[in-house]
């Protein structure tokens, strides 16, 4: 069972009190987007076997959103952080550099780890 700490209310909760909402840091495609951009925005997900950044909702807690860095292969949680950002913050990256040397994010084409 996953146990995450919500950075908004500071409560540590198990996954049955939270709700996962998929990949984080996705840029919304605008009205002028091409079909390819729209397809990428709506459907294409990195779906890595390894380090994954994702959105969570503190649904039975404070009701606010946050982000989590997690390994989809071992279920190790590297940390949670505010949803008010477009990329993972430095302290999360530092943890990942230490725990998963050579990790990558959205480096597409034979680099999945």
């Amino acid at each position: 069972m996953l146990i995450l700490t919500c950075p908004n209310c500071g409560e540590t909760k198990d996954e049955s009190e939270l709700h996962a909402h998929g990949e984080a840091h996705i840029t919304r495609a605008g009205p002028e987007a091409t079909d390819e951009e729209m397809e990428t925005y709506l459907f294409e997900r990195v779906n890595p076997k390894g380090v994954h950044f994702e959105r969570w909702h503190c649904s039975y807690g404070c009701g606010k959103w946050f982000h989590a860095a997690r390994c989809t292969n071992t279920l190790e949680v590297f940390g949670t952080y505010s949803a008010q950002t477009t990329e993972p913050p430095k302290e999360i990256i530092d943890i990942l550099d230490k725990k998963r040397p050579g990790w990558s994010w959205r480096k597409f084409g034979g680099t999945a780890q």
Binding site: L2, L42, E44, R45, N47, R70, N73, G109
Partner: protein, 414 residues
């Protein structure tokens, strides 16, 4: 290959069963094959089988990183049905179901297909309307289903409590020729038939890279060395995204764990398959007497093949209202498989941006029932470049907005 028969059992009995041969060979890989299939699960082996049987392509290798049938083929709840709403889905699932009918004879391997009937319970007014609509659609598609009322549901499955306060049973969608089959036997039967045609099934051989030249596939790198091929079929379910990444294209797929569990064996009490989509649970009784229960998927991506405990709890808690007798049962085993889920909950059987590479994935929570039809259609696609069964399941449908929207049709797991 020595054929299995009643006579063969008698013959082997006279020599203390010393004469049985291995069901399939385990050779070392050759330098080059006409076609390589990645993934020796049901879909991959069925593809190889129909490549050989229907299209005469027999210089084929099937590569498997673990053991044969050890992924989702060995982890599902063995339910077979074809009562889908959309025409392309009904076509491929009904093709599969009809192939299951005489698969044991075709493969000379008993897959224990048991067309005991499948009921999908309608437990809300919304589901009543939805299943009536599906029954009408199935009539037009030539799939034999009917909408039945609650009394008939109770007749078919007397252990069910239909007046539940929270989830009363209002009716159901009944497919009399749906049922179950022995999941391992499906993989083993196809493997034996493939091996008999001269195909090489290579287990413990993980693909680590896809070699391309000028946008065309020329082979794969594996833990047993490089192997050349003209055509490559990727049939790896939950790990589709990982292998597609090696080949240099992306998929609209997310991988999540799906769980199932079985109870201790009890005497026969239920001779149909029951699916309750409102509460995300489905149940049947195996030949050993265990109640086989399937639940919902985890909410978050993972590759762990186990799943979260609270999903089992939710599934069983909800099923107890409809099946009060299971509250006294001990649950024996639980397991998870990694399912590859697409945006519209329909599979992808398609060419890819890399010439010679074909992908068969996205079966999500309902792949087992489709194995023969998927193999039939995908083999035709790989051999000829087109199959009427797979034409609507292309990778480009997401960009073009031509969804085969079974997520709306089924509501939940299917």
């Amino acid at each position: 290959m020595k054929r299995y028969s009643a006579f063969a059992i008698a013959r082997e009995a006279f020599r203390y069963h010393t004469g049985w041969e291995r069901a399939w060979r385990s050779p070392e890989p050759k330098k080059k094959y006409d076609a390589i299939i990645v993934g020796a699960g049901g879909h991959g082996l069925a593809t190889a089988y129909y490549l050989g049987k229907n299209h005469g392509i027999k210089n084929v290798a099937i590569l498997e990183k673990g053991w044969l049938g050890g992924g989702n083929t060995g982890r599902n709840t063995t339910i077979i049905r074809s009562n889908y709403l959309q025409d392309p889905s009904a076509a491929i699932y009904e093709k599969a179901r009809s192939l299951y009918e005489d698969l044991s004879q075709d493969l000379n391997y008993n897959v224990m297909f048991s067309p005991r009937g499948v009921i999908m319970l309608a437990q809300t007014e919304h589901e009543v309307r939805g299943y009536k609509r599906t029954a009408h659609a199935n009539a037009l598609q030539g799939v034999a289903t009917e909408y039945i009322d609650a009394r008939r549901v109770k007749e078919l499955c007397p252990i069910m409590h239909i007046e539940g306060p929270r989830y009363p049973v209002l009716g159901g969608l009944w497919q009399p020729r749906g049922g179950t089959a022995r999941h391992d036997a499906v993989a083993w039967g196809y493997a034996r038939a493939c091996s008999d045609m001269g195909m090489d099934i290579i287990q413990k051989c993980e693909v680590t890279g896809v070699r391309r030249e000028n946008g065309k596939v020329v082979g794969v790198d594996t833990t047993k060395g490089a192997i050349d091929c003209d055509r490559l079929g990727i049939v790896v379910a939950g790990h589709s995204g990982v292998v597609a990444d090696m080949a240099g294209f992306r998929l609209p797929i997310e991988s999540v764990p799906l769980q199932a569990l079985v109870s201790e064996p009890i005497k026969p009490c239920m001779d149909v398959v029951v699916m309750a989509n409102t509460v995300h649970g489905y149940m049947s009784q195996s030949d050993k007497g265990e109640m086989v229960i399937g639940g919902g998927t985890d909410g978050h991506n993972a590759y762990t093949q186990r799943g979260s405990f609270h999903h089992i709890e939710e599934t069983v808690r909800a099923l107890i209202e409809t099946f009060p007798m299971i509250s006294r049962l001990k649950m024996l085993r639980q397991w998870g498989g990694i399912v590859d889920v697409t945006g519209d909950r329909s599979p992808i059987l398609s060419k890819t941006p890399v010439e010679g590479v074909f992908i068969n994935c996205g079966w999500g929570t309902g792949g087992f029932k489709a194995i023969p039809g998927s193999g039939w259609g995908f083999a035709e696609l790989m051999a000829t470049g087109h199959s009427p069964l797979t034409a609507e399941f292309g990778l480009d449908r997401f960009r073009e907005g031509r969804f085969i929207d079974e997520s709306v049709a089924a509501g939940v797991a299917h």
